[in-house]
């Protein structure tokens, strides 16, 4: 175990370990994966794993949650991206290979990938 010898070293360590408890606070960004029977059958679990992996790689702070079926089963896996103060964007038929671009454009650059969007919900 490395010894901490200054406040800066402590703060560096804090940055690393903060991610471990980031799910316990609101990050301002929530990615919601449809995980009803329809979603699971369409491969939502793989999609979610790809999302988690991409967030980890890019060190992006976001909460990932699952929800049940919302009825648009043909478009599963459905992935919603919700950011504070903005309408919730729903992407349809999200396969794992689409995830890097979705995160790159939506979360990093702030541009919605319009061609994949199937709906928008005003934040409630």
């Amino acid at each position: 175990m490395p010894q901490i010898k200054s406040l800066d070293e402590l703060r560096n360590l804090r940055q690393q370990v903060e991610r471990d408890i980031s799910t316990r606070r609101h990050t301002g960004t929530t990615i919601i994966v449809g995980m009803g029977t329809c979603g699971i059958a369409a491969g939502a679990r793989d999609t979610m794993h790809a999302i988690l992996e991409e967030l980890r790689k890019r060190e992006i702070d976001a909460n990932v949650t699952t929800v049940g079926c919302i009825g648009m089963c043909a478009k599963e896996p459905l992935v919603d991206v919700e950011q504070a103060g903005q309408p919730r964007v729903t992407y349809g038929n999200v396969t794992p290979d689409m995830v890097p671009r979705m995160i790159e454009e939506h979360l990093v650059k702030g541009q919605v990938v319009e061609e994949w969007v199937v709906g928008r919900l005003q934040s409630s």
């Binding site: 200054s6 804090r14 370990v17 408890i21 316990r24 699971i40 980890r56 699952t66 929800v67």
Partner: protein, 614 residues
């Protein structure tokens, strides 16, 4: 980089409260179910400290949503994992329901029990894994220690703590910064820092919850204190009845050593500090600082006259700073956020928060942290959810067995050190017991007095003899043998104990009785003058009888009566033989028609017996 990023954290409370309602088997079941479904790389199950809502334990909180599940049993786990962690749905049957309205409240932050709380001292309790120093650091832990050692002089630290207005959370409310200053200014090159974790009040468990749920916060506070007073060694005096707290303290000290946050040359500043956990045998008097010091030294736990105060002559006659667990737990946050931040919470004279173990006749029992200045009404009704079963509120006892009680007219009193004291109650250790109309205030005081006299160390006469005599007088009153002179005698003994006892144990032992005589004197006088217990609780003054108009002759009471003193034909009103009745209350509890009456006082008893035979 093989460390997975978890999308969900499932926090299971493993404080002593939830552990005793079975949280360990719930936790094991959760881990097994997460494994079985192959979710172990996306869902993390974390053992945390106390969340305070112990009545609802075992408590499980699912993040990021913050879904709050109550009383989760191992058999509920499969459904919880399937619904919430796989499908993202709330299991409504495990969600908290507001008792009166049956309204379900799935989210932690919306539960009324929590909404009026302000968790500062308990900010990490139930939020982090107490066995992980990383999680404490992730919440800003040890930054205050680093700041103090790298950027501040000892006197700057003391000034900051003084400016915050922090008052000792052990009960007396002395200014913490000033206490530190006394120790810092005391002559001597060897000084000590002591943490009083000898929490002994029946029903109070806030210190235990902090030690179990956030041990590093206490350790960091003690080290900051050590630096500012010039001590390099600290002792945590914790009772051996708190095995989990002691285990986690040892673990926390070990981890702090591994990170170089304790030991030699901390933060490269040249400051050395070591901490020792001293287990106490659980004598109540050892919560008194001089008795505590004697016990740490290996001597019998008895107080000695002060002065000299421990700040000048404490552990092994060296200058010693003694503070309570909660006081130390506040220090790091004061340093990190600034004295001004802290002084704006609560009231100007009692800044910060207060922690209470809310118990007795309230819907929501548990551990709560509230800003100073909140009213008792807000605590009891908004957080506690009021008195259950439609009963009337009668009194609230604050400060544990050495505290005092307040009647309904005191409900709008602000909670802080000075207003409680002025009203005859005290902040004390933070016990808060609510009683309803069915409680007899003579019985109630007898309970506390029995505890206090049993815990008297016996060194000084006022406490040893005074408490015993007072208990005898109270017992006489509760048995209908008391006189008005006995009440006066109680008051006279109380004055002597208050002025002449060696320590706070003897001085405050009369507290509950004195406050009860102040606010419920008529109830005492009813026992003496009318031989009547208005609450119908003092056995010698009551009799059980059956109301023939209400009795349906169902025979249930006769069947359950342990002395077979109830007789009567089927479908005919029954009769209790008062001579044989042992007043066990069973008949009244089993009766579905509310036909069993408790009469008190000679006239009422005679009338009830007459009616029964009519």
């Amino acid at each position: 980089m093989t460390e997975p990023i978890y999308r969900a954290n499932v926090l299971v409370c493993a404080g002593t409260g939830c552990a005793s309602s079975g949280s360990r088997s719930t936790m094991a079941a959760l881990e097994a179910e997460v494994q079985r479904r192959g979710l172990q790389n996306e869902v993390r199950v974390v053992e945390t400290g106390c969340r305070g809502f112990c009545a609802m334990g075992p408590i499980v909180i699912v993040y990021p949503e913050g879904i709050f599940y109550c009383q989760v049993k191992p058999e509920d786990v499969e459904e919880l994992v399937e619904e919430t962690l796989v499908k993202g749905r709330v299991v409504s049957r495990l969600v908290y329901e507001v008792p009166d309205t049956q309204q379900a409240v799935p989210l932690y932050e919306q539960i009324p029990f929590y909404s009026k709380q302000q968790r500062i001292t308990l900010r990490n309790c139930g939020v982090i894994d107490p066995e992980s120093i990383d999680e404490y650091i992730a919440r800003g832990g040890y930054e205050a220690l680093g700041k103090v050692l790298q950027e501040m002089t000892p006197s700057q630290v003391i000034d900051e703590v003084k400016a915050s207005g922090l008052r000792g959370r052990g009960g007396a409310g002395f200014l913490t910064g000033l206490k530190w200053q006394f120790t810092a200014q005391a002559a001597g090159d060897i000084k000590y820092v002591v943490c009083n974790a000898d929490e002994g009040d029946p029903g109070a468990f806030m210190d235990r919850s902090i030690l179990e749920g956030d041990p590093h916060s206490v350790i960091e506070g003690m080290m900051i204190c050590g630096y500012s007073v010039g001590a390099h060694e600290g002792y945590i005096y914790c009772r051996a009845e708190y095995p989990l707290a002691i285990k986690r303290l040892h673990l926390a000290i070990e981890k702090a050593h591994e990170y170089g946050l304790m030991g030699k040359d901390i933060f490269g500043s040249g400051f050395d500090f070591e901490l020792i956990v001293k287990e106490g045998a659980g004598a109540f008097v050892c919560g008194e600082e001089t008795a505590l010091i004697a016990s740490v030294e290996g001597r019998r736990g008895e107080p000695r006259p002060r002065p000299p105060f421990p700040a000048n002559q404490g552990l092994w006659d060296r200058p010693t700073n003694v503070n309570n667990v909660k006081s130390y737990a506040n220090v790091a946050q004061i340093i990190r956020n600034g004295a001004e931040w802290f002084s704006k919470i609560g009231t100007p004279k009692s800044p910060g928060t207060a922690i209470f173990a809310l118990t007795g006749k309230v819907q929501n029992t548990g551990l709560i942290e509230v800003p100073m200045g909140i009213t008792l009404r807000e605590i009891i009704y908004d957080i506690g959810g009021g008195v259950p079963d439609g009963k009337q509120f009668k009194a609230v006892q604050t400060g544990g067995p050495l505290g005092g009680c307040l009647p309904a007219s005191g409900l709008d009193l602000q909670v802080d050190f000075d207003s409680l004291r002025a009203a005859g109650a005290v902040m004390g250790s933070g016990g808060m017991i609510v009683v309803d109309e069915d409680t007899c205030m003579v019985e109630f005081c007898k309970y506390f007095l029995t505890f206090a006299t049993a815990e008297s160390c016996g060194k000084c006469v006022p406490c040893r003899v005074g408490g015993r005599r007072m208990l005898e007088l109270l017992t006489r009153i509760s048995e209908g043998q008391g006189t008005m002179a006995d009440i006066e005698m109680i008051e006279e003994i109380a004055r002597g104990m208050d002025s002449d006892s060696l320590c706070a144990l003897g001085q405050l032992t009369p507290g509950p009785v004195l406050s009860a005589l102040r606010y419920f004197r008529d109830e005492y006088e009813a026992h003496v003058r009318e031989k009547r217990c208005p609450a119908g609780k003092c056995e010698a003054l009551i009799a059980y009888a059956i109301d023939p108009d209400a009795c349906t002759g169902c025979m249930l009471c006769a069947k359950k009566c342990p002395t077979a003193c109830i007789s009567g034909e089927k479908k005919q009103p029954h009769v209790i033989d008062t001579a044989e009745c042992i007043k066990c209350d069973t008949c009244r509890q089993v009766c579905k028609f509310d036909a069993v009456r408790v009469a008190s006082g000679p006239e009422e008893i005679a009338a009830a017996i007459r009616a029964q035979h009519h």
